[in-house]
Symmetry: C2
Subunit: 339 residues, 2 copies
């Protein structure tokens, strides 16, 4: 075996993982987990509401504490890793980013829908002015062809993003989908490329490996696979698998699995498994915010909600179009009635 | 897309999955689940103690009912599928196989350690005499190189086995390991080839896809991923993923996921997740029967049990050599003391 290839891990237990505990981590718990991740050698430790800075709200779910309290709790214990935040333009503001920097955040991931990198320009610019490492993060990348993902990645690069992420936010991709998109982005930009998986089709780890094969060098993960829906790539499993593959992560395998089992697991509200709703979201390729509306529409029109989800995926509907679900259900019901 | 490739699914919820409920399914529960699997169109429905016919014992765990009771319960509801049993020569006997056939079993998987196909010769012969479909099933296939697996597969074929399985009993393989072994077996034999995954490294579905790519046409799975340790490939997820890939399984995707969530899930004793012990077994490539002995030896010699497991894997120790674990631990402790 040649020299080990270096992989940069971004642990998102305290950001994407917070969805799985309805954003109810306490600052003390955040400190405990961040301390464990840091002692294990995890390079980037992401701490934010599941929907990014300022996500705590009626719409996205109230968190148990403020972004500032969480960030200060994590910053107080992190010695080696880089405290990282997520920001979705439209939810988080420039003031939120300044606050995060003041709390000790060293990196920010500016996340937009895969076709809307342009709304991240200002935030990338501000991050750099604040001396933070700026990532561009393209959500729901399965919805458009590889060339389009690459085009948007180039936009992020032109704004100054130092790493570009391909995110499979619905857990809808299979390894060849990942390779095509990550490969296209790697060809298009001159900065490192990352990949963020979801496990709806049980492919999170395999897709992460596919991303590395296609040239990515940054990978997201969460202890115990915590995360929205079916969750993310399981940090401690990924570390073990990467060791078997000859990749170097800088993470202590035994330590990180102890953090998962001894610190994180007792705090979990539910096991991180693939239930039918998550499976269907991955299968149909639609985002979780559609679920509630879909169940309501299905009941109203006497349909199987799964048929609606598949149709929404076929039409590539995106967040913000929730009101169109009723139209889709109506049309499906008409079609069914006429058949 | 061309014509869909046919994949034969063997659901083992009621055999390998019974490990996860300590073999405590009742015959009524077995009937309910088998009925659901059958109505979903699952082709092979495996019903046996987790360690095969006659596994119910002090050593392997007492089951809540006899093999005969389970098989009769399943046979009474199966209309389209083939009732299947597992038999490990040395645990199950020829009389057990005759009993299974009398209860309605149509297929048997004769399972041996990957280097010991020869102890399956008589049982394969008897199965054929009884008019049952006979599978040869090579356990812990990760422990030997592809050529050796192929050699043993040829033995099974020479005894009359109609399908040969490569089983990753420790969940230790990565997709390239699977492709190498399944590919070698496909090249060596003229009968269909199958693959049985475990999810210790979160690769069960990805490895199953790798097996299909390498030429396998039979795949094992369990509802909700039930099974020993980290469990098996999750049936309902696999069915969805195979549809996305353009494979034809004959299984109704919605029906089978309803069986998983409505019938099986409420009966589960624990969520089927990857905890540290299973992760380490997959990482080290050792079988679960070593776990208890390893923890005892670790305590005696003041070692981390994980170091012992890795050393056992390195030495390719197999079941039956449990007494040598203390020797290994002693040597590790000496080495550590001298370092």
């Amino acid at each position: 075996m040649g020299e080990a290839k270096r992989v940069h891990l971004v642990d998102s237990t305290l950001r994407d993982g917070s969805h799985a505990v309805s954003h109810q981590f306490t600052p003390e718990q955040v400190a405990k987990i961040a301390e464990g991740l840091d002692a294990s050698g995890v390079e980037y430790i992401e701490v934010s509401h599941g929907d990014g800075l300022a996500g705590s709200s009626y719409n996205y779910g109230w968190a148990a504490a403020s972004d500032e309290e969480y960030l200060r709790a994590a910053a107080s214990v992190i010695k080696r890793g880089k405290l990282t935040v997520l920001l979705l333009p439209g939810i988080g503001t420039q003031e939120d980013l300044e606050m995060a920097r003041d709390c000790g955040a060293q990196a920010v991931r500016v996340a937009t829908h895969v076709t809307e990198a342009d709304i991240g320009e200002q935030h990338i610019g501000l991050a750099k002015k604040l001396g933070m490492k700026a990532f561009g993060f393209l959500m729901l990348s399965h919805m458009v062809p590889p060339e389009k993902v690459a085009e948007q990645a180039k936009l992020f690069e032109s704004y100054g993003a130092e790493v570009i992420y391909v995110a499979d936010s619905a857990g809808a991709m299979l390894p060849d989908d990942v390779k095509a998109r990550v490969g296209a982005v790697c060809d298009a930009v001159n900065v490192p490329v990352g990949f963020h998986a979801h496990n709806n089709l049980s492919m999170a780890t395999a897709n992460s490996l596919a991303a590395l094969e296609a040239g990515a060098t940054y990978i997201d993960c969460c202890l115990r696979g915590l995360g929205a829906g079916a969750g993310n790539t399981q940090t401690e499993v990924l570390v073990g698998v990467l060791r078997k593959f000859g990749y170097e992560t800088g993470v202590d395998f035994y330590k990180v699995m102890d953090v998962a089992e001894e610190i994180l697991e007792p705090l979990m509200h539910r096991p991180q498994v693939i239930r039918n709703a998550s499976l269907m979201l991955g299968y149909a390729g639609v985002y979780s915010s559609f679920l509630l509306h879909t169940y309501r529409a299905a009941e109203k029109f006497g349909l199987d909600p799964r048929d609606i989800l598949v149709e929404l995926g076929r039409r590539r509907m995106v967040g913000g179009q929730e009101d169109m679900i009723v139209d889709v259900a109506y049309q499906l019901a008409q079609r069914k009635g006429g058949a």
